[in-house]
Symmetry: C2
Subunit: 224 residues, 2 copies
């Protein structure tokens, strides 16, 4: 895998920052994107301090970050997601766009998946950026684990859904720098509607069991 | 855990038969339910042959099976689910009803979760059997592994969602006879709408990777 120029849109949030850190420490060049270029630069500086002299990481506003990248990771809250993707649409044309956006709600009964008219945030992004090469991935990783000193999150899996073969291949390979294993081909992009809200279940488990949970697909080590 | 009298509605199908086998071999008394009492008895005989002299397993039509049970497991295809649950409603009153029903569709792009007006099959069952004590559980276990000689499916987890505390507790404990570990409290019954269609992703993974996949929740062994 060549080093990519990766933009992490929403890279100042915990999921985006943690994934950016993992990408940077494995040798990719990352631009943190944020509405505020200054906050993006602060997060980039945090990551550079953690990774050390080899770090290639910078900060910019979301549009500049997306414009300069080969691969764009969408790691924004679902609130405001549609407007942001629409505003970046031209800059995303022809690029691999990986969404780890989780449309979640919270009420007194706990976290739950929001109803999304397009089925999922990933499918919404595909509608709003029709020339982007979409994959859904990296939804279920513990943000705390991502930003930890752990070499790999090798007890967790990355599930990848995509219709575009290039986007799927990039996300499957990028997963290696996080978990030490290729991401799992979980099927068509439409399955993002089941993968995204699974995060609600994991957050509830974290609250009840006082853990940092993730998903592992059992049985892969024993082909039939 | 006392031995329960468990009815497995749809117990002639692979998921129901496999779970029934696991329950019987751990000492529970099971009645296989089916539209055809004869087919139910044939499946019960298959299980008895596998388990041996200690087996307490019989077959009956679905209504008789449900009527005689303390705990009812719904393991039917989603097609016909609503009519069946409505027909059993009176017999389910006051009983723990565990649904492992997966509303799935299949087309040329693979398996996917069906849209269910109530959100999930489990919530549909609760609406149609309002006095039953509902839990959703056992959705993701490989039917082939269930019907295997393996002592335990200890690489897989059982995720349990329920609003009723008794139903949740019974399903969490019953999981032990399958996986060797308590089921995981995955939250409120409404989360069944995310757990059920996850089976579509697993079936797709089985097809692509030639495996028998299941779900494991990572991170539970390390409380914060």
């Amino acid at each position: 895998m060549p080093p990519y120029q990766i933009a992490v849109i929403g890279g100042t949030g915990p999921q985006g920052k943690g994934l950016a850190y993992r990408f940077v420490r494995s040798g990719h060049r990352v631009t943190i994107g944020s509405r505020s270029a200054e906050r993006a630069r602060n997060t980039a500086a945090d990551i550079a301090r953690r990774v050390g002299e080899t770090a290639s990481v910078s900060g910019a506003d979301n549009a500049a970050a997306a414009g300069a990248a080969d691969v764009v990771l969408l790691a924004v809250p679902y609130k405001g997601h549609a407007e942001l993707v629409a505003s970046l649409s031209a800059r995303l044309a022809g690029k691999v766009l990986i969404s780890c956006v989780n449309p979640l709600g919270f009420d007194k009964r706990g976290p739950y998946g929001l109803d999304v008219a397009d089925g999922s945030a990933a499918e919404e992004a595909q509608r709003l950026a029709p020339e982007a090469k979409l994959a859904g991935a990296f939804h279920h990783l513990s943000a705390v684990n991502l930003w930890s000193e752990a070499e790999l999150l090798d007890h967790e899996d990355v599930l990848v859904c995509a219709d575009d073969e290039q986007a799927k291949a990039v996300a499957v390979e990028l997963a290696r720098v996080v978990t030490g294993r290729a991401g799992i081909d979980a099927g068509a992009l439409r399955l993002a509607r089941h993968l995204e809200p699974l995060t609600a279940t994991l957050i509830g488990i974290n609250q009840r069991y006082k853990v940092r949970s993730g998903i592992r697909v059992a049985g892969l080590e024993h082909p039939r």
